[in-house]
């Protein structure tokens, strides 16, 4: 019986081939658009994660408890020697570096600006971040404690060039003001608004002196391997890295931006899915309703012959399901083709900025298993929902009236 219903439904769909193909194509285009957008957004997100983690943040960071909430300079990492021993001993930590951080002002001969001051260890920093590679003018930091790096936007704003002298002023841990004379050694470009526009980088020893925090750290930045793997295994990774009085957080926890970006992308994809599939559903309702309307007399005949109304409903729902399968197949094929093309060729978004992170390379769309499970399933679900009304309409046809209209 089911096979007969399937065959009957398939033949009914093929009666008006053009209409069926157009409807399936509309569904397919909708699905292919979703697959493409998902591939693009996944790629953007990965690019942003890579840009942020590799550029500066690292995969995880250690701070003193309360430091990130208050930013108080006195909240240095508890027992830094123990932390460093733990990090060095951990098999999961591929690299780590120590940082001192403070709000400061930078003063040139002509200008004065507030900045974020970072004291870094040049050698280990280069293993965590792209600070060394970000130098576009001048040179990277060395053991010379008078050298200073600053973001290119800050340099442009203050009209500073490599070799210019500047004065940094920051609060000392003891409450006084520390000042130091530095020489611009290099200008860096990260493609991240806060690092390019508001940050300066000096040797950690110079920062220790300036802030009166010898041997201390505000932050340890760690590299732990693949970012997706870090998030997936985070609970297992975190525990061995924890030390008393300090917090260990991954890059997603550190950056509210990532969390909001993930949520925003989910919402954006959800809204887009609803709009696209809603439009597709209207098309399906129209097609099926027209199809049922045109065959009113046929349903009248079937009902007159003693066909159960449930069988009629199932018939229309079977046609709907077949239409959904055709649409999904077409959409998956088209979406795979388009994604495959842009996986290889990419799209040039260089210079575009997302939440302060510049897209610096071509964007290559990505395949995810979810794309081929979630969206097709949602499309089939929407299509079946759309088929309910025409199915009910068909099953409620009054045979005598349908036959009278046919015979007149």
């Amino acid at each position: 019986m089911l096979l007969s219903l399937l065959a009957l439904s398939a033949r009914n769909l093929m009666r008006n081939r053009r209409r069926t193909v157009i409807t399936a194509a509309a569904m397919g285009l909708g699905l292919a658009s979703l697959l493409f957008m998902d591939g693009l957004m996944t790629s953007w997100l990965d690019q942003m994660v890579a840009t942020t983690t590799e550029s500066w943040t690292g995969h995880a960071q250690i701070h003193r408890e309360g430091y990130r909430e208050t930013g108080r300079q006195s909240l240095v990492v508890e027992n830094p020697r123990l932390v460093e021993e733990t990090l060095s001993a951990s098999p999961d930590v591929t690299a780590w570096t120590r940082r001192l951080i403070s709000p400061a002002t930078i003063q040139s001969a002509m200008d004065l600006k507030p900045v974020a001051l970072y004291g870094v260890e040049p050698l280990s920093e280069a293993e965590i971040s792209l600070l060394d590679e970000a130098v576009e003018e001048g040179e990277y930091l060395d053991e010379d404690t008078f050298g200073l790096l600053l973001g290119f936007k800050l340099a442009e704003t203050m009209d500073l060039m490599v070799g210019d002298p500047v004065v940094l002023t920051a609060s000392e841990a003891g409450g006084g003001l520390g000042q130091g004379l530095f020489m611009v050694r290099g200008i860096v470009r990260f493609g991240m608004e806060d690092l390019d526009g508001y940050s300066v980088f000096i040797h950690c020893r110079a920062a220790e002196e300036l802030l009166e925090l010898p041997g201390q750290a505000h932050q340890y930045a760690l590299a732990l391997g693949d970012p997706d793997d870090v998030l997936a295994r985070w609970d297992a990774l975190r525990a061995p890295l924890s030390t008393p009085g300090n917090t260990v957080e991954n890059f997603a926890e550190i950056s509210a931006f990532f969390t909001s970006m993930l949520e925003m992308m989910d919402v954006a994809m959800g809204v887009m899915t609803l709009i696209l599939l809603g439009l597709v559903a209207f098309g399906i309702v129209n097609t099926l309703y027209m199809s049922v309307f045109e065959r009113t007399w046929e349903y009248g005949v079937l009902l007159a012959l003693g066909t159960d109304r449930r069988f009629v409903r199932r018939g229309v729902m079977m046609e709907t399901a077949l239409l959904a399968v055709m649409g999904v197949l077409f959409g998956v094929l088209l979406g795979t083709g388009v994604n495959l093309f842009f996986t290889r060729v990419g799209i040039d978004f260089t210079g575009f900025d997302m939440g302060g992170v510049a897209l610096s390379t071509r964007t290559y769309t990505q395949f995810r298993l979810e794309q081929f499970v979630l969206y097709p399933s949602v499309m089939v679900f929407f299509t079946l929902i759309a088929g309910i009304w025409p199915a009910l309409r068909a099953s409620r046809i009054v045979p005598a009236r349908a036959l009278r209209n046919r015979q007149v």
Binding site: M1, S4, L8, R11, N12, R15, W297, E298, V301, L302, L303, A304, L305, G306, T307, D308, R309, F311, P399, A400, L403, R404, R406, Q407
Partner: protein
């Protein structure tokens, strides 16, 4: 044992046409016995088709009783009525009403499929009836590839294949030429005589009247004459 196959008692049907009540059937008492070859005749709009629709349960009466093989169909639920039609009534319509996407064989087979008969048995029964109506060579053709007369023969085969209690034929020859009509009616008459199948026609075709053994004249929703010939 009740020998009456179709019984109506004081059957009425009133419907609204653009807000105007139309009394299509006005207190019809009718009895049809098994094996009859009966024609309801009368002018267009006299209530013949409405009477057939009421008798088959396709339409519900405003008042009155319909007993089919002793069962009051007014007491049946829609689902029971549907099952009753499937198992006991064959239909032949004026416009053939074959399902266009099904082949001749599948159209005839459809009722048996609904009845849950096994495929092999279905095929055998279908081929038997197609042979009786002379269409065994057309089994795999679509209705659109057949002439009007052939399509109506398929409709007769579809109506008869499940061996229903009776066949209701609403203007079966209205769309056919005289030669084809004559052949079709001869075939139905022959089947009636050989199988004892009961036929109730609605018609104003004189060829049907010539062949009918009993004629019920319908006028203004009433049976005004009942004669045997």
């Amino acid at each position: 044992m009740n020998r009456e196959l179709i019984v109506t008692r004081n059957l009425t049907k009133t419907y609204e046409d653009n807000g105007v009540p139309v009394r299509a059937v006005r207190g019809v008492d009718m009895t049809v016995l098994p094996g009859e070859f009966t024609a309801l005749i009368g002018p267009s709009g006299s209530g013949k088709t409405t009477l057939l629709n009421l008798v088959s349960g396709l339409d519900s009466p405003t008042s009155g009783t319909i007993l089919l093989n002793g069962t009051n169909i007014g007491d049946m639920s829609p689902r029971e009525l549907s099952a009753f039609r499937r198992n006991n009534i064959g239909f032949v319509f004026q416009a053939y009403n074959l399902i266009p996407v099904l082949t001749v064989e599948e159209n005839v087979e459809y009722i048996l499929l609904l009845q849950g008969m096994k495929k092999k048995q279905r095929h055998q029964k279908v081929m038997e009836i197609l042979e009786k109506v002379g269409l065994e060579d057309c089994a795999h053709r679509l209705p659109s590839k057949l002439s009007g007369g052939q399509q109506q023969r398929v409709a007769v085969a579809r109506a008869m294949v499940a061996r229903p209690l009776f066949i209701l034929a609403d203007e079966p020859t209205a769309n056919l030429d005289s030669v084809t009509s004559g052949r079709l009616l001869d075939m139905m008459k022959d089947l009636n005589e050989k199988t004892g199948m009961t036929y109730l026609f609605s018609t104003h075709d004189p060829r049907v009247m010539e062949r009918a053994r009993r004629i019920l004249v319908v006028q203004d929703g009433l049976i005004v004459e009942d004669r045997e010939q």
